[in-house]
Subunit: 223 residues, 2 copies
């Protein structure tokens, strides 16, 4: 059933790439929401009141009211996107055929489980503090390795966007991942298909208006 969006709260962090994915998905589905910053740099994700909402202590988390009045909390950006796509009208986030859906989900999941978990806040802190490693070099290594695979995969499916000529869940993951790649100094000239897709996405408001530096919790010098 397709319906209008009710009031929703998105818990997130301005620089979190997974939170940005949720913002893009909400934008493509035409959903308005209230944004509640959880300061990952200050450890707010580990405070009891947030852990009670999301035991994993990660962002994003979407809190909403279902039609029967229940309060529902959904963690994990790809799960949020699938839920929004099942419930609301707006841009479809997945293709209409099952092979296309598998290809888009594979691109999204390669970023979501193959790249991003290795570069998140708690892993970086562990590499730096417990192993004495260079966590920026660590992130750059895994991001470059993963993007090589995504660049290779996306050549088989892309048109103007990652899958044909309309944005999907794959683009929702690619754009924040390239932002993160730049932050860690990864040379993006090796990924011409991905950067062309990024340029196409930047022409759409749900991508361009949700950028990290536009968020209320971004430091002033970033805005």
């Amino acid at each position: 059933m397709i319906e209008l969006c009710g009031p929703m709260i998105l818990y997130g962090f301005w620089r979190s790439s997974a939170t940005w994915r949720a913002r893009i998905a909400l934008g493509l589905k035409g959903c308005s929401y209230q944004y509640r910053p959880i300061n990952l740099a200050a450890g707010e994700q580990d405070l009891d009141h947030y852990r009670a909402k999301n035991p994993m202590g990660q962002v994003p988390l979407l809190e909403l009211t279902e039609q029967d009045g229940r309060t529902v909390r959904i963690a994990q950006s790809l799960v949020i996107a699938e839920y929004l796509d099942e419930r609301f009208a707006g841009t479809p986030l997945l293709p209409s055929d099952r092979v296309g859906r598998a290809q888009v989900r594979q691109l999204a999941e390669t970023i979501n489980s193959g790249i991003q978990p290795l570069a998140n806040t708690s892993v970086r802190a562990f590499v730096r503090e417990n192993l004495g490693g260079d966590d920026n070099a660590w992130c750059a290594h895994w991001i470059a390795r993963g993007l090589e695979a995504v660049e290779s995969m996306v050549r088989a499916t892309s048109g103007r966007f990652a899958f044909g000529d309309a944005p999907t869940l794959a683009d929702i993951c690619i754009v924040p991942q390239l932002y993160h790649a730049r932050r860690f100094g990864v040379d993006l000239r090796r990924f011409p298909t991905l950067t062309a897709i990024e340029r196409a996405c930047q022409s759409l408001d749900p991508f361009s208006l949700t950028r990290p530096e536009f968020q209320i919790d971004a430091p002033g010098d970033q805005r």
Copy 2:
């Protein structure tokens, strides 16, 4: 459309928890398949002929023929499960209501992206060889941390299985993750709900007959 399964090839590794997920999903959907071992311990995932099939160099990978005759390759265990669930009859891998689907996907994704990527072969090798870290302790840390969150989440949804009284995609992820946790010495007494779910799953052939030690590529002393 629901149809009978055609010939399928599953590329995997006996001890890979993500490959085990795919075996359980294939079993629950009643699909037969040919199993082709990719020896992760010997680096076969990085050979050109396999990278040509899966640029990420990971297992599992499912190769199958679509109704129109196309050869389709799907990487990422959760994507494989969603595809099988959309295409074939057998046990539904997701609940019929959208909130239930989100809850099951959240449990699955917390394991798939929150735990397993940190304990995979290439990450363990990097921790050991490039950072001089104890990769077994590294794995135990992330598995225990993630399972704490999953145990907390699953208390809200479980019956006999992770979501009510029938197996779903969440159970498909939980059982191999507990196997992996034991391998790295994680104390599972802290997770009574998860271990009760594991016992319920072990009564079902798609879980019990797909165990790592029963695979053709398992070392003789494991079988």
